[in-house]
């Protein structure tokens, strides 16, 4: 056993690391949302952003010994599940109608 590693494991991981991870994940989600063409990838990016937020919720809940953050996470997961169901249905409908999943070609919603 490496005492140093053991020492490290016993120690609390600092709050900052969790938050940084959360921020990185969120930014990846935003980036994916903005630059990917495939609608399904875009959709997955949204899930990534949601989970990044969930992570920060849980972090704070743990930090402040508050259960509210955890409850929020359940809400977000529930909404995400519903969103996934509806979103996938919409994607399938769009694909059937337009025969493509490229976001920049689904641009009929304008004046």
């Amino acid at each position: 056993m490496n005492p140093t590693l053991g020492h490290l494991l016993q120690q609390e991981i600092p709050l900052t690391w969790y938050l940084l991870l959360s921020a990185v994940l969120f930014c990846l989600g935003v980036l994916g949302f903005l630059i990917k063409r495939n609608l399904i990838t875009v959709f997955m990016s949204i899930e990534l952003m949601l989970n990044a937020v969930n992570l920060s919720f849980v972090t704070f809940a743990h930090q402040w010994h508050e259960v509210k953050g955890q409850i929020f996470v359940f809400f977000v997961m529930m909404v995400a599940a519903a969103e996934a169901a509806v979103g996938l249905a919409i994607i399938i409908a769009v694909f059937r109608a337009r025969a493509t999943l490229a976001v920049d070609r689904i641009d009929l919603m304008k004046l």
Partner: protein, 651 residues
């Protein structure tokens, strides 16, 4: 006084008639419309009569009059308190008797005159509406309620002048009457505001009481108030310079001319001055203006009346002239003489108009005197009643006009140095009056008929009955005498009888009467020479004096002058400045600018809605980032680095 007099019935009965005929008249049978209208005005007259008779025993007990009946509070804000209150005193009794009595007779007459007209129900609804407002005007215990009646009779007058609204001239005449009256009403309103500001009340009795309590209070603001009220009176009573609407008002049906534009409504100005005479008494200047306006109008209108060929227009100018007499009477503080003349004038002028209506009826609608003639034997009853009225207005003893005109002229003569001038103007006017009335009389009734395609026929009895009654009143109406009349009105108008009091007054009175009658005889004689003995001479005189004649025929070009100086500039300004610059330019331009800027910004902003999902998301991200920056950047510190301090940060 035991119990209520139910004064509210007097105006409300005609109002009920107006509501019934106005709302349902179109569907009601004609007989029912007639019955409602006649009963409404008869009922009103009846209530007045009952009140007068119940009071006859108590006339010599001044405590019993005036009777004030209050039916509730109208306005009550701070210092301003105005009631719905009616006042029955000697003055309003006289006016009510004239208004409802003559009004009822004219209603009867109208049944015959309007029998074959379109809108029979409409006519009677308006007539009843007029009776309602006129009785409100007369009974009103404060100036504001009087103003309601004042405006109301103006409305009824407008509606009735424009009764034949398909005719453009009638509609225009209605508008003209209304607009010219508005100028007068403006004066009346300003007068009311001044009264309110200086007296704190609009109740006539309180104003008089305050004036009586401050005997030193003269001139100044009282003159201003009196002149404002005079402007209102001049508008309603068709005096210079606002008389122009009355001749045009003859576009209305003849009974309307008789009731509204001769007997009752146009005398409202005289009544108003008499009602507020305590104010005028305190302002010699305003009284002088009243007298001058009256005398000038009397002479001015009489000269125009000399050459008019429309039978109703002759009478219209005669009405203006006679109203001038009443103003002259008011102006020399002879209010009871003015009211006396108001009453007799109501009789004989209503009669003149109704008889003229009967003539027009007989001639099948012809109003031009030049096309009449020889009607004497064809419509004898109309002829005789007309004769009585002509004698009365010309001022022959013992007809009604003699007594009242004599009273005014006598008072004018007694009124200091300037009074002689006023008297002289009055006498000249009397000469002209006599001349143009006999001219009308000769042209219509004597000689040969000048139009051959009409068969004159006597009017039905519903028209002849009122004619006969009014003819009777035109004869006997003045017999009461100014002394008794004046002493009856004295509790309100605060005068003593006239001729008996002044030294040598009786002889002077008789002398002046003889002059007046002589002058009337001269007028008759001239008319006789010109229109009976030498029927071609008027044309020769007109040819000899082309300028004078054309000035008179064109009514001194007053309408043209008003059109040039007031109407045209107003229309010009309305069209080119108000319509084009203000309305189309400024207001329309502002509206277009607003709409245009919305459209333009919309056109720019709509590019944001590209339909591209990723651009939406990008903007969302940018927005979120901007919000974060805004919230978390410590702005005050950042700006402080640049030397800018926000709010308290610098202290």
């Amino acid at each position: 006084m035991t119990g209520s007099l139910h004064l509210w019935l007097i105006p409300l009965l005609p109002f009920a008639g107006f509501l019934i005929n106005g709302l349902l008249g179109r569907r009601l049978p004609k007989a029912l419309v007639t019955a409602v209208a006649l009963l409404a005005s008869l009922g009103s007259f009846g209530v007045v009569l009952i009140n007068v008779f119940s009071m006859l025993g108590s006339i010599h007990m001044p405590a019993s009059l005036p009777v004030v009946e209050t039916f509730g509070t109208w306005i009550n804000t701070g210092a301003l308190h105005i009631d719905f209150s009616f006042v029955l005193d000697q003055l309003s009794i006289i006016m009510l008797l004239v208004v409802t009595g003559v009004g009822f007779l004219i209603h009867i007459y109208s049944v015959g005159y309007m029998a074959h007209e379109e809108g029979y129900w409409r006519f009677f609804a308006y007539m009843n509406l007029f009776m309602f407002f006129m009785t409100v005007l007369v009974l009103a215990g404060n100036a504001l309620l009087m103003f309601v009646g004042w405006e109301g009779v103006g409305l009824a007058s407008y509606l009735l002048i424009g009764f034949y609204f398909q005719r453009t001239s009638a509609a225009d005449a209605g508008k003209k009457a209304f607009i010219v009256n508005r100028i007068g009403d403006f004066g009346f309103l300003i007068g009311l505001f001044l009264l309110l500001a200086n007296f704190g009340t609009l109740t006539f009795s309180e104003i008089s009481a305050k004036l009586a309590a401050n005997p030193a209070w003269t001139g100044g603001v009282l003159t201003a108030i009196a002149l404002c009220l005079l402007l209102g009176a001049a508008g309603k009573s068709a005096q210079l310079p606002l008389y122009v609407w009355l001749p045009d008002a003859m576009e209305g049906p003849t009974p309307v001319s008789a009731l509204i534009h001769a007997a009752t409504m146009v005398t409202a100005g005289v009544y108003m001055i008499a009602r507020t005479h305590t104010l005028f008494d305190r302002s010699p200047f305003a009284l002088g203006v009243v007298a001058i306006v009256g005398a000038a109008t009397a002479l001015f209108a009489a000269t125009i009346g000399l050459v008019q060929n429309d039978i109703k227009r002759v009478l219209a100018y005669s009405t203006i002239s006679q109203l001038g007499y009443m103003f002259l009477g008011c102006g020399v503080a002879a209010y009871s003489a003015a009211i006396f003349h108001l009453m007799t004038h109501a009789f004989f002028k209503a009669l003149l108009f109704l008889a003229a209506g009967s003539v027009i009826h007989a001639m099948g609608g012809e109003q031009d005197l030049r096309k009449m003639g020889g009607l004497r034997n064809k419509i004898p009853i109309t002829f005789w009643t007309m004769t009585a009225a002509v004698l009365a207005i010309a001022g022959f003893f013992p007809f009604a006009g003699f007594f009242s005109k004599d009273a005014i002229l006598y008072e004018a003569f007694q009124h200091g140095g300037s009074g002689k001038v006023l008297w002289f103007v009055g006498v000249v006017t009397a000469l002209l009056t006599s001349f143009y009335m006999f001219r009308l009389w000769y042209l219509a009734f004597t000689g040969e008929s000048r139009s051959h395609d009409v068969r004159p026929h006597e009017s039905p009895w519903s028209m002849l009955g009122p004619l006969s009654l009014l003819a009777l009143l035109s004869v006997v109406g003045g017999w009461i005498g100014i002394d008794r009349f004046g002493s009856f009105l004295a509790p309100v108008l605060g005068e003593v009888g006239n001729s008996a009091t002044a030294p040598g007054g009786k002889q002077l009175d008789i002398m002046l009467s003889i002059i007046a009658v002589a002058v009337a005889l001269i007028g008759w004689f001239i008319a006789d020479r010109l229109y009976r003995q030498k029927p071609d001479s008027p044309a020769r005189i007109a040819a000899a004096l082309p300028t004078g004649y054309s000035v008179l025929v064109h009514k001194y070009y007053v309408d043209e002058i008003y059109a040039m100086t007031i109407v045209r500039p107003l229309l010009f300004m309305s069209k080119y400045f108000l319509e084009w610059v203000v309305d189309v330019g400024l207001l329309g331009g502002a509206a277009w600018m607003l709409a245009g800027s919305a459209t333009l910004s919309g056109a720019i902003l709509q590019r944001w809605q590209s339909g591209n999902l990723r651009s939406y998301a990008a903007w969302l991200a940018v927005g979120a980032a901007a919000l974060l920056v805004f919230v978390f950047v410590p702005w005050s510190t950042v700006l402080a680095n640049f030397g800018i301090h926000l709010g308290m940060a610098g202290q």
